[in-house]
Symmetry: C2
Subunit: 386 residues, 2 copies
């Protein structure tokens, strides 16, 4: 069995190449094929009302719970290109279907890159046959071909009892990713139904990708897919599937957090002591999106006052006079006041854990994963399209 990500499970092949979409000449197209015997597929997509042509196409094609192949490209998001964008995505998929002896409805598409430029079909059309000819054990190369501003490729393998789950991902968030759209492809050789796949993927996305919030922005292209070939012949239970999908998503999410644009700190924000999980999540997100908190983290500055100022605006039940904050396990705020040692806490390491208790005694608890706001973030994002 292969040791790479998406081609580790039996029944999957992939290929990748540099078609010339990226001016850098780096790999920018990938193809993932499910050779069956099952072609089960489930997906989770961006919640953005402005969504890319490939998202619209894949939502349609996955509606029957089946996909046999997914075409990936980086360097161009094919978003905000109107009907031409829709037509271009469909043309590529239709051409690919003919070469693979499939129906276009059997194929999904995922794009990531600059918004608003038409796909360079002149270089993408001839690349299709090369992708088909190159199909094999190339999970590694495919994971590299979907990257944009990512510095490292992200892959995962979860071995289970007689079946396995592989995956690749790129980007830095789900409902709140950077311009670096989050794309994830998970593959498994387990024998499962589309309903099982969707249930496992939706649940895992909620507690992993949806808690990763790098800059509060949500891409037009986010797409997380789970494909199953059933080639292992093993039928896991829903719980076993859920556990494997959660483990894979959690790993990819942590890899994305570590590689987020301009990151110098990995920050986890846990909120407790409020009315509900939803309130805790909203409060953690409010803190994680606060630029002043994020700048303080960049400066290794234990400025707990900014945490209180941020959370005070969150839609969550709290006792404003009895909020507690810990940084890396050390008490910096009790009863909404600083502790004597608060300014001396050492935040110079790469990982910072922020724990906030909103003081109501309520059962709500949630954790959000974010990063600091660094010079590099500004640098990367002020010079992207030009």
């Amino acid at each position: 069995m292969s040791t790479t990500g998406i081609t580790a499970p039996a029944g999957f092949r992939s290929s990748a190449l540099a078609a010339g979409i990226k001016p850098s000449g780096k790999p920018d197209m990938a193809l993932v094929i499910n050779d069956g015997p099952q072609y089960v597929a489930a997906g989770v997509f961006t919640q953005n009302k402005v969504c890319a042509s490939p998202v619209k196409l894949t939502r349609r094609h996955i509606a029957d719970g089946q996909l046999s192949a997914v075409l990936y490209n980086s360097g161009n998001a094919n978003a905000c290109n109107g009907q031409q964008g829709d037509a271009d995505a469909l043309e590529l998929v239709t051409s690919l279907a003919a070469q693979l002896d499939l129906s276009p409805e059997d194929i999904g598409a995922c794009s990531t890159g600059l918004i608003g430029d038409l796909l360079p079909l002149e270089c993408m059309r001839p690349a299709l046959s090369e992708l088909v000819e190159g199909l094999g054990d190339h999970g590694e190369e495919s994971a590299a071909a979907i990257l944009t501003t990512d510095l490292v490729s992200k892959q995962v393998i979860v071995q289970s009892d007689g079946w396995c789950l592989g995956g690749m991902g790129k980007g830095v968030g789900m409902m709140a990713p950077s311009l670096a759209t989050m794309l994830v492809c998970l593959t498994t050789d387990a024998v499962i139904t589309a309903e099982m796949a969707q249930k496992a993927l939706s649940a895992a996305s909620q507690s992993t990708f949806n808690t990763l919030d790098i800059d509060g922005a949500t891409s037009t292209n986010d797409t997380v897919l789970l494909l199953s070939s059933g080639a292992s012949g093993v039928e896991p239970t829903q719980d076993e599937l859920d556990a494997a999908v959660l483990e894979a998503c959690s790993s990819l999410m942590k890899q994305m957090q570590s590689d987020a644009e301009g990151v110098t700190k990995r920050v986890s924000i846990t909120v407790r002591g409020t009315g509900s999980h939803e309130q805790a999540l909203a409060a953690a997100r409010t803190i994680g999106r606060d630029n002043l908190v994020k700048c303080a983290m960049f400066g290794s500055d234990p400025n707990w006052g900014r945490v209180l100022a941020a959370v005070g605006m969150a839609p969550a039940e709290m006792d404003p006079e009895h909020i507690s904050v810990d940084f890396n396990g050390q008490a910096v705020c009790r009863d909404s006041m600083g502790t004597p040692e608060a300014r001396q806490v050492d935040l110079s390491g790469a990982d910072i854990a922020v724990e906030v208790d909103l003081g109501t005694g309520g059962p709500g608890e949630a954790t959000v994963y974010t990063t600091d706001l660094s010079h590099s973030y500004v640098e990367i994002n002020s010079a992207y399209s030009s």
Copy 2:
């Protein structure tokens, strides 16, 4: 008549000094006195659930629609200091009241600076008598004494028919300021009631300070006050008062925008073509808070795709296929697609106007004022408390 801000209207004196709160030795305390014959006062305060001790005190003392004096300090927010913070604010106001032959309830207090350190009363107590002794035409000095990371002081005078309105301000936002709390003091010698003052101030704040959103963060200390001495003997109509207060607030808001932390671009974001003013405001705020949009502005990059990606997540009615965007009056996006000249638009100037039509034909329209996200913003805010 004086030409400075808050002491321009008849019936007002002020003073300022360096008490030693700021390590830099710059001015950090100011006193504003209303000599009457009226002592009308109205206020607008932060909506943050975590609010500073002086905010709680001033809310109580202004409840009867009257204030005779306001004590300002910079360099320390007296926020998140618990009951000791409340007691410290009250002690200063009580001591000041005795020296001015007033009741403590006649005096308001406003603080701005670092959250979570107790006020250095040892240097502030002796400063009170000096402030009282120094009272005179010192609006200029007072405006300087309330600054924190502001680079320039902000003042305004609006001359009306037989009466005038003066003001000073600091900070960079209202419901969404930076750590640089927004403090504003407006003074007028018009003969008005507390109800008139509150009505004018609330309306003007909504359309000025509340549309200034530098970084989405909301301070614990925001306080906007309007004091009236009635010393001119002239009774304006509500409309006349509204107009003068709006003009003053608008001027101070623009001054704050220009001086926002790390600003290199002044960005206005107007949204039209959605269901209501509230939806348009929410959509404009979503765009204005988007770090990717703000980084693009810093880079003078006409990356309209980020505007669409941002607005697609806004809680506003839109037609995702028919959104228009203009930068500085030039069409960069029509029907949610880029125009041929989109990437050539010149955004190198200091002012950038973003206009978005959400394509529903609805009547909603609103404008939000923000800035770019620059290296300086990160620099200023990663090294604040340390």
